[in-house]
Subunit: 487 residues, 2 copies
């Protein structure tokens, strides 16, 4: 609830809207929690600066203009209107660009500046309320949240599809897949330390509150510990993983056909998966989760050229979505050939349907037959290690997050920024919150501080390299003068 939110809470009518899987959604609350974020040009710019995202949609449209030429198109959640404009540039007869926030006004200005006002009609309103004059041939939307389903925006796309897509219509994107893979990362150590130090701090606090102010607060130690543990260790983290951090094959846990999926199909994700460890003597620090979407058209009317947008760990093609990291604390020792049999489930938070609660359980079948038991794990009788850990999926995309959360995005900053419009580190880190800092984790165990030291090279520090040279010169001079007889 920082200052950036001032003045954009908007519709506080308090009318209830939609179902979103059981819980009634208060529109005013939803705006305060969610939509207001997208009303800022700053956030639009961050998304528009994601080259991987932009290239995928750009190619999807312009390599498949047959889907757009002379057609009616609906852009759901148009933002600044870029997809609507591309659709028009690709030859659409008419484009309806629906945007819930006041960003619609800016989209209208951009449409006009690009001289497409006769083709693109920007409509400010929520998709669920909008009435179009015709059915459309294409629905295009960039609806994907962190780990695909966060934000639950696909609900609005489904609503649009069921009401406004012709029976022969095409979805852009057409398919989506969610992935998980076992990973190693230094984030868990760091978060464990943060948790420990917050508890040390609490102990001091309760001691002092008792001694100075005569009130015993120690009864709150347990709930405080739970609150902090949930925050530090049981909340998934945004991260841009390096492919080397993935230590076993990625497993698909959900496939969505955008043409046929219903809201009930995506309310909950449940999957069993297994993965064989591909690295010798390493640590299972948790799981990474990400997604792909594909632009394939539809069976009867396929894409001329299929395009894929992947948010998998990548050295050069990171996205603002990054990956979600689900920490296992403490990590488990594993090695090549060990088999990880996992199960995953995720459902919407009861309190906020745009947030998710996820749960992993993982069974480690060690090839060696030997067990290196991490704490907090249960054993069964077949030398099988049971690890159960549950998380809340965190970090709304492009939302100004809590400052506490923003720390995560500073952790492993590297110069491998892929931002179209590159921003200086300080500015980006401070200004973007959950936004694309495109951090690539270089070193498994490196902490923020270490990386800071590795990367920092203040001018003066280079001077130390002169010391051996000077010492050598010094020695040389001494050597010359110590042999005067030879001169």
């Amino acid at each position: 609830m920082g200052s950036y939110k001032n003045g954009v809470v908007g519709d506080q009518s308090g009318t209830s809207n939609g179902d979103a899987g059981g819980a009634a959604v208060d529109k005013g609350v939803d705006f305060a929690n969610y939509f207001c974020t997208y009303a800022f040009l700053y956030h639009q710019k961050e998304m528009l600066s994601d080259r991987v995202r932009m290239d995928a949609y750009y190619n999807a449209v312009f390599k498949n203009t047959h889907h757009f030429h002379g057609k009616a198109v609906l852009d759901v959640g148009a933002g600044s209107g870029i997809l609507a404009i591309w659709s028009a540039q690709a030859g659409a007869r008419k484009v309806y660009a629906v945007e819930a926030t006041s960003m619609a006004e800016h989209a209208r200005a951009v449409v006009k500046a690009n001289n497409l006002q006769d083709v693109v009609e920007v409509i400010e309103g929520s998709m669920e309320d909008v009435v179009l004059p015709e059915k459309v041939d294409v629905i295009i939307s960039e609806w994907m949240g962190y780990f695909l389903l966060r934000e639950s925006m696909f609900d609005s796309v489904i609503c649009a599809r069921d009401r406004w897509l012709k029976p022969t219509g095409v979805m852009y994107p057409s398919h989506a897949t969610m992935w998980v893979a076992p990973i190693r990362t230094g984030l868990g150590d760091q978060k464990s330390n943060d948790y420990e130090s917050s508890m040390d701090d609490w102990e001091r606090f309760t001691d002092e509150t008792k001694n100075y102010y005569g009130v015993d607060m120690s009864v709150l130690t347990k709930p405080f510990s739970q609150e902090q543990k949930k925050y530090y260790l049981q909340t998934s983290l945004w991260n841009n993983l390096h492919p080397h951090q993935v230590i076993g094959a990625a497993a698909s846990i959900k496939e969505i056909d955008c043409l046929t999926a219903s809201v009930s199909d995506i309310l909950e994700v449940k999957s069993n998966f297994s993965s064989t460890v591909t690295l010798q003597n390493t640590r299972l620090c948790g799981y990474g989760g990400w997604f792909d979407v594909q632009f394939r058209g539809r069976k009867e009317d396929p894409a001329q050229e299929e395009v894929e947008l992947t948010t998998a760990p990548s050295v050069n093609d990171g996205t603002h979505w990054g990956q979600q990291v689900f920490l296992l604390s403490p990590p488990a020792r594993i090695t090549e050939g060990d088999q990880l049999n996992g199960s995953f489930s995720m459902k919407r938070s009861k309190e906020n349907h745009r947030l998710m609660e996820a749960e992993f359980s993982c069974e480690i079948r060690q090839q060696s037959g030997e067990l290196v038991p991490p704490k907090l794990c249960q054993f069964d009788e077949n030398q099988v290690l049971m690890v159960t850990f549950s998380f809340a999926v965190s970090h709304q995309r492009t939302s100004p997050s809590s400052a506490q959360a923003s720390e995560e995005f500073l952790v492993n900053f590297s110069p491998a920024s892929l931002s179209l419009a590159s921003t200086p580190l300080l500015n980006t880190a401070a200004a973007s919150g959950d936004l694309p800092v495109y951090s690539i984790e270089n070193s498994d165990h490196a902490t923020k501080k270490e990386i800071g030291l590795l990367h920092s090279s203040p001018g003066g520090e280079n001077a130390i390299h002169l010391i051996p040279v000077i010492l050598f010169l010094c020695g040389f001079v001494l050597w010359i003068f110590s042999h005067p007889t030879k001169l």
Copy 2:
């Protein structure tokens, strides 16, 4: 909307509650925006660690036990229950502790752990809805937000007073005063730079979006600039000012008698004030705003010992409220004896009644008769400099702010932390958002980067100090051997 907010949106009934000065307040929205923050023990702890705040209330209660002994007390917004417990310890017959969030449950546990469950009754509910079995002798509440009125929580105290305080009852605190004073600060330069660099970034972005993706976004340059200017330069900043940064006498702009003030008295604050500059050849960089509250009892039943809680700039007694800084950009050159005639007005934001919009205007009457005109200012014919600048008061107390905003609290961190339970820098800065980092600005013109360099001293860097020594040794050796005849 960071992860910390998960699962505490709470009551989404959408019923409208109260007036709050014209705009109807949606309860669900208010909870999502406001109350949920106070449901975290972490935030309670931060407030309870503010020694100045704690000492003031502690002394107010225990140096005036005659107000509490055998009396009925109401604690409005009880949080973890500390004021209710002190009231009971001071001899109250009965204490009603009303708390709107689930923190009430924790308060109940603390009350029981301190064996006061027969005296303190914790009631979970909003003050406006609660029904008490009797009228009370004392209302105690820590209702003050940033710059006193932010959060608009005093409305609930007024409601409690009008419904539940006996005609002879006493308010704790009894009085409040708001202050402003001209200041110098390096924050404005820093924010100007941030703004400039965000605009440079935007230019690159629009160029590249046009060149790579064929869409001209430059029509949004003006609204983007306005958005960024509002964010960087027209939003007040949390800061813990050093008294040396205050360059003229502080002026009182609002006095509130808590026993008689009505909501309409605090809906708007308007004041003219003047201040004479007390420092030679300096810059007017803006105004600082803060508040005091006093515990004086009431005329017919005064305090035995009056206590004051001030949040004025202080070297050793900073509070988590800090001061609000209203930047003037660019600053104006002023000097000792110049007279600043200002006017101030502040009203609640239409979109969120708990946020404020403030406006300053300031006329500089220079003693010298000479004018050093800052940009953007208008002149009148009497060699008077008109400076008009308006702001939105920012930063909800103890709220997890946007990461962008949190930067402000990292700027001038010094070791002068007054936190009862001291927290390591990284942890506090990352975890607290708007919370007490107790930064004291050491250097007027030092930017974040400069301070970083001043404070950083990585081991290797010290080695450069050896270079002159080695060079000197080298020279000495050369000198010795260049005079062989004298040996």
